[in-house]
């Protein structure tokens, strides 16, 4: 059977600074010609030497950290951008749902956009008409179907985009991070719909930070790191390896800092600042972050987020959220900050994700540490495996005992 997707030696190079950003006007281009020597071109390979084969009917997950090249790979596979080197080819109609935002025309109504998407996926109007009601019902946008897309909320547009991509019978479906937006119920329906497609023998390629969803949906996975394919195999195996390679599990992680701002160390510490033994549920948690600034960065702010291992964000707090504090020190050098979290996390694996940036720029946004919250000695095994996001201290109380049946009835 021929492969649904084939990519060979795919590389995608982006030029930084000079060509990409600065040449937006002719004047800059002319100036660039004159000064080419003086401005060395900075290049970045978002993808390099990627070989990939996806068989028909296969569901493939792509995992990797931020900037690993996942989205770029999907754009190349979907023919949205051409690779700088190598080639890729797909067989069959492609339905693509890339990043947030949708491939819709904002001046067209919802209805017109459904037909446009159908045409883009190579379907006749008659075929689109046949699925139309189903699409609108899935997206839940009936009252707005004649409204121009520019008046849709981003959530509505996304729902319609997914509905279109998933119902117009694509032979290949490419989905990138769609689950980052949208409510839980919609996310669940998306996963279900993709499972159905996959079960019907369609080819699905899926990117998500939600590794739980990747594991449930996909049979095979590949891992990208700095644009290169570093692991390939069964989904469980690759997802596990991904944790192993990217996160140093434990209570402390050290990182290389390059660029203007970064984090040299993330650690779970005890109340006195010493590195903690494994944290336990029911105890407060202190996360310490050592920020390194190469130069003065006024307006710098930091955020710490804790994600459960299935991708659920448990909390996300920025330094500036706390109003009784002065702004984060912005001078060059090392700054250590600490976030104290009340007893909240459930027993199990978690990730610490750190963001560093200003209002206009992001210097760092990445998962930096994986750690485990241990159960308490008296926790029953069965109680650990329940579905829950947090596990704070709760109290049961008896309000009344069984009363005797009301007399005189």
């Amino acid at each position: 059977m021929p492969a649904a997707i084939e990519a060979h030696g795919v590389g995608k190079r982006y030029r930084l600074g000079t060509d990409q950003a600065a040449y937006d006007t002719l004047r800059d281009a002319v100036a660039g010609l004159l000064h080419r020597r003086r401005r060395p071109e900075q290049e970045m390979w978002a993808l390099r030497d990627v070989d990939l084969t996806v068989q028909e009917g296969e569901a493939l997950g792509i995992v990797g950290g931020n900037g690993a090249g996942k989205s770029t790979l999907l754009r190349v596979l979907g023919r949205i951008t051409e690779p700088t080197e190598g080639w890729s080819r797909t067989r069959g109609r492609v339905g693509a749902l890339l990043e947030v935002g949708t491939g819709f025309h904002h001046e067209l109504s919802g209805r017109e956009n459904v037909y446009l998407s159908g045409a883009i996926m190579g379907m006749s109007r008659r075929d689109v008409r046949r699925r139309f009601d189903e699409i609108v019902a899935f997206a839940g946008v009936e009252p707005f179907i004649e409204t121009p897309l520019k008046r849709y909320s981003s959530g509505m547009a996304l729902r319609l985009a997914f509905a279109v991509a998933a119902h117009l019978e694509p032979e290949i479906m490419l989905v990138d991070e769609v689950l980052a937006v949208g409510d839980i119920d919609f996310q669940r329906r998306c996963i279900e719909r993709m499972s159905t497609l996959s079960a019907e023998g369609r080819t699905v390629v899926f990117i998500s930070h939600d590794l739980g969803a990747v594991t449930r949906l996909c049979t095979r996975a590949v891992q990208l790191d700095h644009g290169r394919l570093v692991a390939e195999g069964g989904v469980e195996e690759v997802v596990q390896a991904y944790y192993g390679s990217v996160f140093q599990g434990g209570v402390e992680a050290r990182h290389q800092v390059d660029g203007d701002a970064g984090v040299a160390r993330v650690a779970i510490v005890d109340a006195h600042g010493g590195t903690a033994a494994q944290p336990q549920r029911g105890e407060p948690l202190h996360v310490e972050v050592e920020i390194v600034l190469a130069r003065d960065l006024p307006g710098i702010d930091a955020a710490i987020a804790i994600d459960a291992i299935d991708g659920t964000r448990v909390l996300e707090e920025t330094w500036s959220d706390q109003h009784d504090l002065p702004p984060l020190a912005s001078g060059a050098g090392r700054h250590v900050i600490r976030l104290s979290i009340p007893p909240l996390l459930r027993a199990g694996d978690h990730l610490v994700c750190v963001w560093l940036g200003t209002e206009s720029e992001t210097y760092l946004y990445d998962d930096l540490l994986a750690f485990s919250v241990l159960p308490r000695a008296d926790d029953r095994q069965e109680a650990l495996s329940r579905r829950r996001t947090v596990q704070p201290e709760v109290r049961w109380q008896r309000v009344s005992d069984a009363a005797p049946p009301a007399s005189g009835a």
Binding site: L26, E99, G103, E112, A119, I120, G122
Partner: protein
């Protein structure tokens, strides 16, 4: 180039053209009437000022009919080029998120103006009759203008839409450039008023042939054959060059829009 790809995705072009047509007159008070009003009002102004006032010659036919034939080409032409130029940069959410042959964007924009062209040509014929020009045996041949219009519009649109993605200056230069081209084209005057060298030079403008053929078909004027050849050849050359250029740079579009 991949013609099969273009054919497979033809519906995208059709929808883009329809959309252009609909969006243009949505939220307007007079709607489609604009297609009729614009050339007629322009005709009245030019006839009063240039025809009656200055006494610009009009190849032996009433000036009103003469100028309206020119406007019937010029107005859809400038509208098509303007729309096509911004067709790629106006839809970043399409160009960066889904695949379709990018040629369909300028093609759709030009296609969306064809209805305007047909209406404008019909009005030109009606006004010619009212002005006393007898119905020409060549009148049905005016349909030849439609494919010619597509080639001429693409001769400009392919270059400009692709360049506009690379350099946003194009959008600024466009209004000015079209204004100059208007005066370089025989819309409000016949090319014959220019002397020898200047006339030959003016004929390299692809719009010249289109307007001359329209006047020949509807008004019975005799166009200069040499001008037609030069102008037509220029249109085909520019369109072919534009196609090559467009294909060469289209791989960058998704990264640049």
């Amino acid at each position: 180039m991949d013609v099969r790809d273009l054919w497979a995705y033809r519906d995208v072009g059709v929808i883009l053209a329809e959309r252009d047509l609909r969006v243009r007159y949505r939220q307007t008070l007079l709607g489609v009437l604009w297609v009729v009003i614009q050339p007629l009002v322009a005709m009245v102004v030019f006839t009063l000022v240039l025809g009656e006032g200055v006494g610009v010659p009009s190849e032996g036919v009433p000036y009103a009919a003469f100028v309206l034939c020119g406007l019937a080409i010029w107005m859809p032409f400038s509208s098509a080029v303007g729309r096509a130029t911004s067709s790629l940069v106006d839809t970043p959410e399409l160009v960066t998120k889904v695949y379709f042959p990018r040629l369909l964007a300028p093609l759709g924009a030009v296609g969306g103006v064809l209805a305007d062209l047909v209406v404008a040509l019909a009005i030109a014929q009606i006004v010619a009759l009212i002005a006393g020009v007898p119905l020409q045996a060549t009148a049905p041949l005016v349909v030849l203008v439609i494919p010619g219009f597509v080639v001429v519009a693409l001769a400009f649109s392919l270059w400009l839409s692709a360049l506009n993605v690379l350099y946003r200056d194009v959008a600024y230069a466009l209004t000015f450039g079209l204004q100059l081209l208007f005066f370089a084209s025989p819309v409000v005057y016949p090319l014959g008023v220019l002397d020898g060298t200047l006339e030959t030079l003016a004929a390299i403008n692809p719009v010249v042939g289109l307007i001359d053929v329209t006047r020949w078909a509807l008004l019975g004027t005799t166009p200069d054959a040499w001008n037609l050849v030069v102008s037509g050849a220029m249109a085909v050359l520019l369109a072919a060059g534009g196609l090559v250029f467009f294909r060469r740079v289209e791989r960058q579009f998704a990264d640049r829009v």
